[in-house]
C-alpha cells in the first residue's frame, strides 16, 4: 500500500492545488469574457455607444490609427501645394516687378523650408524652377 505521508505526495498535492485554483480563475475570466462578447454580438450596447460619449480615438496610439496617418499625409500634400502656389505667386510678383511693401525688397521664396518638406521629384523640380526664377 502506498505511503500517504510520502513527501512526494504532499508536494504533488500542493502543486495540484495551485492548478485547481489557477484553472478556476481562468475559467471565471473566460466566462465573463464570453458573456460580454455574446451581449456585444446581440447588438445590445451599440445604441449606447455614441461618438460624443466615447472618445475611441484618444485610446488609439497615433501610429496604429490609419485614418490619422492618412490625414497627416493629406495635410502634408496640402501644405506642399500651398507652398508651390505661394512660390508661384512670389515668382509672378517678381516678374511683375512688385516688391515687399515693408522691406521694399523683392519677394523671396524660402527654398530650404520648401525643400525640407517636399519629397516627390516632380514637386522638387517645380519648386527648384520657381526658386531659380525668383532668386537673383
Amino acid at each position: 500500500m502506498a505511503n500517504l505521508t510520502d513527501p512526494a505526495i504532499d508536494q504533488a498535492l500542493k502543486v495540484d492545488s495551485w492548478k485547481v485554483i489557477h484553472d478556476l480563475r481562468v475559467r471565471n475570466s473566460k466566462a465573463v469574457d464570453y458573456v460580454q462578447r455574446a451581449v456585444e454580438a446581440m447588438g445590445i450596447f451599440e445604441e449606447e455607444i455614441k461618438p460624443d460619449s466615447v472618445n475611441i480615438k484618444s485610446k488609439v496610439p497615433e501610429n496604429l490609427d490609419s485614418n490619422n496617418n492618412e490625414k497627416s499625409e493629406l495635410s502634408d500634400i496640402e501644405e506642399i501645394k500651398a507652398k508651390i502656389v505661394n512660390a508661384k505667386k512670389l515668382s509672378d510678383q517678381k516678374e511683375a516687378g512688385q516688391t515687399d511693401p515693408v522691406s521694399k525688397k523683392y519677394y523671396k521664396v524660402n527654398a530650404d523650408d520648401i525643400m525640407d518638406t517636399i519629397d516627390p521629384d516632380d514637386a522638387r523640380a517645380k519648386i527648384m524652377s520657381l526658386y531659380e526664377r525668383v532668386n537673383v
Binding site: 512526494a8 498535492l13 485547481v20 471565471n28 473566460k30
Partner: protein, 129 residues
C-alpha cells in the same frame, strides 16, 4: 477481496490527489456561489441565494426560500452562446433573454469576478505567499 482491491485503489497516490482536487474544487465553488449570491444586495432572512459560474458557458442562479412551511426553490440557468444568451428555469425550455436582462447579467458577472477574486482567491493567495 473485491472490497480490498477497491480500498487499495482509493488510496493510491493518484487517487489521493484526485480526491483532494475534487474536494478543493467543490470547496472553492461553494464559496464562490455564496459570494455570488450576495452581489445582488441583502439576502432576506430564510432565503438561500447562490449565483455562480458552473463552467465558461454556464451561469447558475439558485434561490431557496420558505413558503407556508414548505421549502421552495428555483434554479435559473444562463447558457452563453457566441451570439446569444438563453435561460431556462427549473428545467423548462430555453428562451432568449431580453436586452435589459443581458445588461444586468453583464454587470452581475463582472461584479462576480471581482468579488470572488477579492473574497475567495486573494485570501488563499495571501495565506500561501
Amino acid at each position: 477481496m473485491i472490497n480490498h482491491i477497491f480500498k487499495l485503489a482509493e488510496t493510491t497516490p493518484q487517487r489521493v490527489i484526485d480526491n483532494r482536487r475534487q474536494k478543493l474544487r467543490k470547496s472553492i465553488l461553494r464559496h464562490e456561489a455564496e459570494v455570488g449570491g450576495k452581489i445582488f444586495g441583502p439576502i432576506p432572512k430564510g432565503v438561500n441565494r447562490q449565483f455562480f459560474c458552473l463552467d465558461p458557458f454556464t451561469w447558475i442562479w439558485y434561490e431557496e426560500w420558505d413558503k407556508l412551511g414548505k421549502r421552495k426553490s428555483q434554479m435559473t440557468k444562463y447558457t452563453v452562446g457566441t451570439k446569444s444568451i438563453v435561460k431556462s428555469q427549473d428545467g423548462q425550455s430555453d428562451k432568449m433573454i431580453s436586452a435589459e436582462e443581458a445588461k444586468r447579467l453583464v454587470d452581475a458577472v463582472k461584479t462576480y469576478q471581482s468579488r470572488v477574486e477579492l473574497e475567495v482567491y486573494r485570501p488563499i493567495l495571501d495565506v500561501v505567499q
